[in-house]
Amino acid sequence: MADTPVVKPGDVTQRVGVEVIRKRGVDVEKLIKMLVANAAAEFASTYYYYTILRMHLAGHEDYKEICEDARLEDRAHWELIVPRIYELGGELPNDLKAFHDQAGCVAAKLPSPPTAVNILTLLLESERCAIRSWIAICDMTFGKDPRTYDMASRILNEEIEHEAWFIELLAHERDGKSIPSGHFRRGTPGEAPYSKNSRFYNP
């Protein structure tokens, strides 16, 4: 077949699963860098720092629970991305600080003062950065790399829901306005309906 890349039988230095997407126009090395940056954003910029943010939402148990859903779902995203990085021939930096510094989104550090409004604003902008980061992966892989596209679109689904949650909560808390997200709480904390329950990687 004309468009089948040549990988010799028994050759373990190349992957057909990589060469076919390269042949279709994916810059695999760039894609790996973007996935590492997005993995760092999910793990270091949000999952880690959301752990702290949720601690400071006392008196707002509903906000705390929703922050927890976002936190756990970002962890699910991290778990989903890492296998794909290695499948593509990439790897994670063997240094946590180097990994943190690769993140494409700002670390969601506890704001000062840590008011509910300030925390919700930070959560909202963090989710927006995640949406922009994942739509970039979708654009890069659409019609060329169905496996990465499927993963990115699952994650994007949840990031879009997270943005809607924090718009609703911030509008209520800061502006006294009702801007419904259209959603209700997850069935279980961090349910991750797109990225976990139908996951293709099952550690």
Binding site: K33, A37, Q102, G104, V106, E125, C129, S133
Partner: protein
């Protein structure tokens, strides 16, 4: 540094893009990337936080700009003339080469500074 031009004066910014030079007007308080978009020029960007370096440009000649809205910008970046357009405000007329993200990432790596997507 104030986060907006106290005089309210707009500035003229020449963008040297891969498809040629474009002249835009940047209003006081407006980010350069937003001004370009408003005038029909879509420049690269992902995070819109002044973090990921995708929107990088580099000054051609002297000029003043305010980068305080960026979450990650270093003195070494300014010394090298790099500007993060998504979160930069003009403080004078400017002449900027756009699409310099690769060069800015190399610059960051050489200085041991964070370089997302590098």
């Amino acid at each position: 540094m104030p986060s907006h031009d106290s005089s309210g004066k707009p500035f003229e910014v020449i963008l040297e893009t891969p498809s040629g030079a474009q002249v835009i007007v940047v209003q006081a308080g407006e980010h350069i990337w937003d001004a370009a978009r408003r005038q029909g020029i879509v420049l690269p960007a992902i995070c819109h936080q002044g973090r990921c370096l995708t929107c990088s440009g580099q000054l051609i000649g002297p000029g003043e700009f305010d980068q305080t809205d960026s979450v990650s910008y270093y003195p070494q970046d300014r010394e090298a003339g790099f500007i993060l357009l998504c979160t930069a405000r003009a403080r004078s007329n400017l002449h900027i080469r756009t699409h310099t993200q690769i060069g800015m990432r190399e610059h960051r790596k050489q200085h041991g500074l964070p370089a997302p997507y590098a």
